[in-house]
């Protein structure tokens, strides 16, 4: 146990390891992989922070969490104060601590990381948030006096939840409309239980409901009600946070065979509909023995690791580019490899092969080599002629990105879209081309991250508040 009063010399406290389930064990269950830091370990880890005068870590956190501030409070054992410090800028720390790409954000800039492992900001953020959820008194923050204004939030992903939380505290009436029967967006239907327990998301939503946010589930805006009708019903402002939510397919032969899935379908069936508990739960899922996942982002890691948990003997990630370009969080790639996921780099899918019953039995791939850098600065993969080869598989999951779901935009007049169908919104405020309508999160930026969606939600909430009190 660290003694708060007596400061040890800063030199050498090693990074406190995060205890986690053994790979062989966790590869067969859906329980969360890391157990979380103990109180002692968290306080010790917090001691490693140098309390920089000009903390670089903050500059790369999209919502500028006061990192030295909350870390110091942990070192002092003041957990309740610490979480309140984080809440000033981040409404979902239990989520961010688990899913932020810390290595390219806060931790990537941490000064301790120059010579040693950086301070485990994510693990600490997760620790205080979990501590509060388990032992906190659950008291509600003070709410401003009612303004009598009504705001509709479309979509209950991280962007929508942030807008709702901010505006309810500012005294507005907030109603969230969610297409699914459960709130949380990608946090619930996409990211698996073993990485982000759903109970955490629901407890965050429950907190908003206790603050007075109304949640209308099963409501697809654009179908049951349009944005214009929301105004007619008396809403003064509308925030659109509907996410990306359009699966990208590869447009290669054989894509409609049985057992070829979009990651969205595969993960929605498994996570939201709990197909991993079939037949106790009614939703079925294909349990492949030899599984190929195409793509190498977080979505691909989640798919390949889910396949292992559903009994795959072989789970392969096939990626067009090389290891250095893998966009997934470092921790996910590491966990995936530990669990036995194999990687085929510089390989492009050419076609899926089926049997006489229309079931997938293999995939044809083509080897690539790295050529000149492309627009994104990454070296473009170019095909090696004649290098076609076949891989056996009975399940393929396409996880090569998502596009803008057009459902809401198609039914809303006056909403400007960019050439890819994403909603055009002012970066500083989230204002769209339509008066009274804001947008933020993946539906504006394209698939990004939880913390960026929350950041956009926060900006939009500030702008909506200004509009409701001062005008457009």
């Amino acid at each position: 146990m660290a003694e708060p009063g007596k400061k040890p010399k800063k030199e050498k406290i090693p990074k406190q390891p995060m205890p986690e389930q053994e790979p062989a064990v966790r590869a067969r269950n859906f329980d969360e992989v890391p157990f979380g830091l103990s109180q002692e370990a968290a306080m010790k880890e917090a001691e490693r922070c140098l309390q920089c005068k000009k903390p670089l870590c903050i500059t790369d956190c999209p919502v500028e969490v006061d990192i030295p501030g909350f870390v110091k409070l942990i070192a002092e054992g003041k957990f309740a104060e610490s979480i309140r410090k984080i809440w000033e800028t981040n409404a979902l720390p239990a989520v961010c601590g688990r899913v932020c790409p810390q290595e390219i954000q806060c931790e990537g800039k941490c000064i301790v990381g120059k010579k040693d492992d950086p301070v485990a900001v994510g693990n600490l953020e997760r620790f205080v948030a979990d501590y509060e959820r388990m032992y906190g008194k659950g008291e509600l923050p003070p709410k401003a006096e009612s303004t009598g204004k009504k705001v509709a939030v479309v979509g209950s992903g991280p962007a929508g939840l942030t807008v709702a939380g901010d505006l309810i505290l500012k005294g507005h009436e907030v109603t969230i409309f969610e297409a699914f029967h459960k709130p949380g967006g990608v946090l619930v239907y996409g990211i698996p239980e073993f990485r982000l327990p759903k109970e955490i998301v629901f407890s965050e939503v429950n907190f908003l409901e206790r603050l007075g946010v109304k949640l209308v589930r099963n409501a697809v805006v654009g179908r049951i009600v349009t944005v214009d009708e929301l105004f007619e019903e008396g809403f003064d402002a509308v925030f659109v946070g509907v996410g990306a939510g359009l699966p990208t397919f590869l447009r290669i032969p054989g894509e409609n065979l049985i057992s070829v899935f979009s990651a969205n379908e595969y993960l929605t069936r498994t996570n939201l509909m709990k197909a991993y508990l079939f037949p106790e739960y009614d939703t079925p899922i294909v349990r492949g023995k030899k599984v190929i996942t195409l793509g190498a982002g977080n979505v691909a890691m989640d798919s390949a690791r889910t396949a292992i948990r559903l009994g795959a003997e072989k789970s392969l990630i096939v990626y067009r580019r090389s290891r250095t370009e893998v966009p997934a969080r470092g921790a996910e790639v590491h966990h995936a490899e530990e669990e036995g996921v194999e990687f085929y780099f510089l390989t492009a899918p050419m076609k899926f092969i089926g049997d006489e019953n229309g079931r997938l039995i293999g995939m044809e791939g083509l080897k690539m080599e790295l050529g000149e850098p492309d627009d994104s600065g990454r070296r473009r993969p170019v095909p090696i002629e004649g290098s076609e080869f076949e891989l056996e598989c009975d399940l393929a999951i396409i996880a090569v990105g998502a596009g803008a779901n057009p459902l809401l935009a198609k039914t809303t007049e006056g909403l400007n879209l960019n050439k890819w169908g994403y909603i055009v919104a002012e970066p500083e405020t989230g204002k769209t081309s339509k008066q009274g309508v804001w947008a933020g999160g993946d539906i504006v930026t394209g698939s990004a991250t939880v913390i960026l969606a929350m950041g956009a939600g926060r900006e939009a909430a500030n702008s909506i508040h200004k509009y409701l009190t001062l005008g457009w």
Partner: protein, 280 residues
């Protein structure tokens, strides 16, 4: 939760359920569907909106018992509630004055075709409604359909309600007798829609079918419902469910519908073995 207001068995294994869902009732259009979940452990399944009452705030669906979800649904009664009803989904049927059209339905489609026939008649068309069943005892809603049709025909596979034959036979007969059909609307089992489309193609009658691919979200998010129409991939839930029957790749649809056959059989077996008391 959504409350069941009325529950009725229309024919063996075919049930009508009226559900309180005022928001959906307000917006429902012919040809649209809902996706329901029975309870916490339920699957999402699509069902066509067979009727609605905007004043009462209710929608009516008619479903056939085929697997676990529909069997479980059949055990619920008026007063019970279900977890989720999402809709109205899909693009509404295109209602216009066209001339003479045949609205055809089999299985659950006997009910599902009704709102389209009604709206088409109101739009000033001559509506010939044709329904089919394997046998007479599987027919229902004859009066409801007669009311919204200029001409009403029944056909059964075993001839127990004359004439014997299928919808495709009746269409051929109408055309043989020299009557003109400008458009066919078909809802029902995939096989019926396929044979209908095959029958009308050589006759040059445009045929609209309501595709029933396996769905999850119904909002274009998952791609599970994809079908191949005219050589391009479409999502039945948002690009349809109405498509040109002559352009549909029926083989892909029929194949994909079998994607979970083993799981479905297993699931129904387990459910039945646990619930035989409730069924009998």
């Amino acid at each position: 939760m959504f409350k069941i207001l009325v529950k009725q068995e229309l024919a063996p294994n075919i049930h009508l359920v009226k559900i309180a869902a005022s928001g959906i009732a307000k917006k429902a259009q012919p040809g649209q569907f809902v996706i329901i979940i029975l309870d916490e452990k339920g699957e999402k399944i699509p069902l066509t909106i067979a009727d609605w009452d905007r004043k009462e705030g209710s929608i009516t669906i008619v479903f056939m018992e085929v697997g676990t979800t529909t069997h479980r649904f059949a055990t619920l009664n008026a007063g019970d509630s279900i977890e989720s009803v999402v809709g109205p989904l899909g693009i509404p049927a295109h209602i216009d004055k066209i001339g003479t059209l045949a609205c055809v339905g089999g299985c659950y489609g006997i009910a599902a075709i009704m709102p389209i026939a009604r709206a088409m008649k109101e739009a000033g068309n001559k509506v010939i409604t044709i329904i089919e069943a394997r046998s007479k005892y599987l027919l229902y809603w004859e009066d409801e359909l007669r009311k919204v049709s200029d001409q009403f025909l029944v056909t059964t596979g075993d001839g127990s309600h004359a004439p014997q034959g299928w919808i495709s036979d009746r269409i051929n007969q109408i055309v043989d007798e020299g009557d003109k059909i400008d458009l066919v609307f078909a809802i029902g089992c995939t096989y019926m829609m396929k044979t209908c489309s095959e029958a009308t193609k050589p006759l040059g009658i445009k045929t609209i079918v309501h595709l029933n691919s396996i769905m999850v979200d119904g909002t274009g998010m998952c791609g599970c419902c994809r079908v191949s129409v005219g050589g391009t991939t479409k999502f039945a839930c948002v690009d349809g469910p109405e498509f040109d029957g002559h352009q549909v790749d029926w083989d892909i649809l029929l194949t994909r519908q079998k994607g979970y056959q083993d799981e479905e059989i297993r699931s129904l077996h387990e459910w039945e073995s646990k619930n035989w008391r409730r069924i009998n």
